[in-house]
């Protein structure tokens, strides 16, 4: 098997990859470079003068307790979103994997939420849980729960986690279902004959065999919670009340575009960029090699 293609002309391969390269350079590397440059600059309040300040923007960030709070908050959000959406998706996938009537129908229905855009998800959940408009909020109030995410930071955080996790369930479900279906039936039958009851069978056979899928989804979900929850946060809470739902990504936006501190915002983006690189590195390292069981 020959893997290398041989071109007659030396120029042709470069011409062929040029469009892709142009897109990558224009839309990825150039803005990234701009962010790095910007992160070393400080602008005055009116944008009239710009000075090169080396790492001053970064140092300012690390001196600011609010930044550490945002980091902690982001980690907490990622963890909560990843764990809740993964576990719920796994539960749904295990149930959908059973040979039941109409399984194709509800498998399809379970995948639909993935097609909903994050801001729309935010709006949907607001309609349900808005303290004065929401349907569910009414029942919560009727149950004696003082539900007001517009004022209560913890409730707002719960709301974000709920909406963000809900949106990701479909994606996780799809991978879990595929993972479950790739486990040979006979292995589970062998376990049944070997005296393992369904729960034990799940934890000792199914779960370990799903571990590559779980690990892959864990990384994907963390990246999702880090970056793709912007739309949900922006439509639902705009980082508030106070700063109780301001994650790192939202802080980049609010400091830079709302606060006008472009230098700090750029420095934050660069830090986020490094985090993505690390996460992607981890994913490649382990997923490419496959998690061995």
């Amino acid at each position: 098997m020959q893997k290398q293609a041989i071109f007659q002309s030396k120029l042709l391969p470069y011409v062929l990859v040029a469009p892709q390269l142009a897109i990558v350079l224009l839309f990825f590397y150039w803005p990234a470079l701009q962010a790095v440059i910007q992160s070393f600059l400080l602008q005055d309040a009116f944008g009239l003068s710009t000075s090169f300040v080396w790492f001053e923007n970064y140092l300012d960030l690390f001196r600011e307790p609010a930044y550490f709070e945002a980091i902690l908050r982001t980690f907490f959000f990622s963890f909560a979103i990843a764990v809740s959406s993964l576990s719920f998706a796994l539960l749904l996938a295990v149930m959908a994997d059973k040979p039941l009537r109409g399984s194709m129908l509800y498998r399809t229905l379970l995948i639909w939420p993935y097609a909903v855009a994050p801001p729309v998800v935010g709006v949907l959940w607001i309609f349900m849980l808005h303290p004065s408009l929401g349907v569910i909020a009414r029942y919560l109030r009727a149950l004696g729960i003082d539900w007001n995410p517009l004022l209560d930071g913890d409730q707002a955080a719960t709301l974000i986690v709920l909406a963000a996790a809900w949106k990701q369930i479909s994606y996780n479900f799809l991978f879990f279902l595929a993972g479950l279906q790739s486990i040979p039936r006979s292995v589970l039958e062998a376990a049944a004959i070997d005296g393992a009851r369904p729960m034990r069978r799940f934890w000792t056979v199914t779960f370990p065999l799903l571990s590559p899928t779980i690990f892959f989804l864990l990384v994907v979900n963390i990246v999702y919670a880090f970056f793709d929850t912007f739309g949900i946060i922006d439509t639902m809470t705009r980082g508030g009340p106070g700063k109780s739902t301001e994650t790192l990504v939202y802080k980049v936006y609010s400091d830079g575009l709302l606060g006008g501190n472009l230098g700090s915002s750029a420095a934050q983006s660069v830090i986020l960029m490094v985090m993505v690189i690390v996460l992607t590195g981890i994913q490649f390292r382990f997923v490419e090699r496959k998690v061995t069981y």
Binding site: E189, A192, I193, D194, A196, T204
Partner: protein
Amino acid sequence: MGSLLLPCSLVTPYSPLPIRYSLVQHMANVTLRNVRKTYLGGFEAIKGVNVDVGDGQFCVLVGPSGCGKSTLLRMVAGLETVTGGEIDIGGRVVNQVEPADRDIAMVFQNYALYPHMSVYNNMAYGLRNRGMAEAEIKTRVEEAARVLELSPMLERKPRQLSGGQRQRVAMGRAIVRQPKVFLFDEPLSNLDAKLRIAMRVEIRKLQRRLNTTSIYVTHDQLEAMTLADILVVMNGGQVEQVGNPLAIYEKPATTFVASFIGAPPMNLMSTRPEEIRSQLAGSAAADAGILGIRPEDFVITDQTPAGGVALPLTVEAIERVGAETFVYGSREQEEQRVAATPGELPPGEIIVRIPGTEAPAIGAKIRVAAVRTKLHLFSGDGRTRLEA
């Protein structure tokens, strides 16, 4: 991977090590009473099967693919529901009993090893699930590993093993449990030809030594003949014949069994043509619809044995396989087709099996004959054997 790379222990049968008491099995017979399986759509996979497998016997279910043999085995295992009749293991009807509680062990076609567990844990899993003490588990697993020559590989994962070794682990997983019954679902069909023969011998020896009642499913008639104490030939969800393998070979009850057991298959021909009818005249056989003669029962001769049958043939093809030669000949006056059954020859073609490599030339006109005692006679529909 070529079989040359395999360690030689894989292709040589076990040395007859004594088996310690720890692997001595409980015994039980398995009785199937009018067992049926009808799927929701109304498809009848098993149409009333009656089989009795005695203590320590080796029963082989054989038949073409789709005949229901695997379904039947899975019903005994408890992996398929029983929709009619009774399955009795060791005097207890187990229709409603979970697979785990039937005291059976099964060896699957694809081995079904737990890929994330070591060989040791694969074998220990079933014992741990039953809450056995670790010390006892260790004794049993090590004993099984010794018997199966797996001792150096206990810490390996299944993917680090060859096909034959995986097969042994699957066997090991079955024997450590000391079940009442072993179930085998085409366990050798994923192995290459050489290893398959070696493992076949090993399975038989192991079963003899452990003396555990076994049910074995295969589509390979050679495997069936060599392994079985009781052979069950199945077709279309029904049992065609049950019995000792040689008895079945010598007296097949139907034309299906006649053509399925034995390779190359028995020659089946209609008795209607005058040529055959006249030779069978004067006996009960004259009314038979189908005449069967095994390829090895023909002799190339100009004489006609008294009461026997002789046929003129034109040699069409010759196959020399060393110790024997197969002569494919066509009969001149073939009018009637015999209902097609698996492995059957094209109508009008006759296979003759002769020893050695001496054979007539292609295109030669020969005459073959079989003695009276070697004739198999069946009713016209092939469902009943007639005694001549």
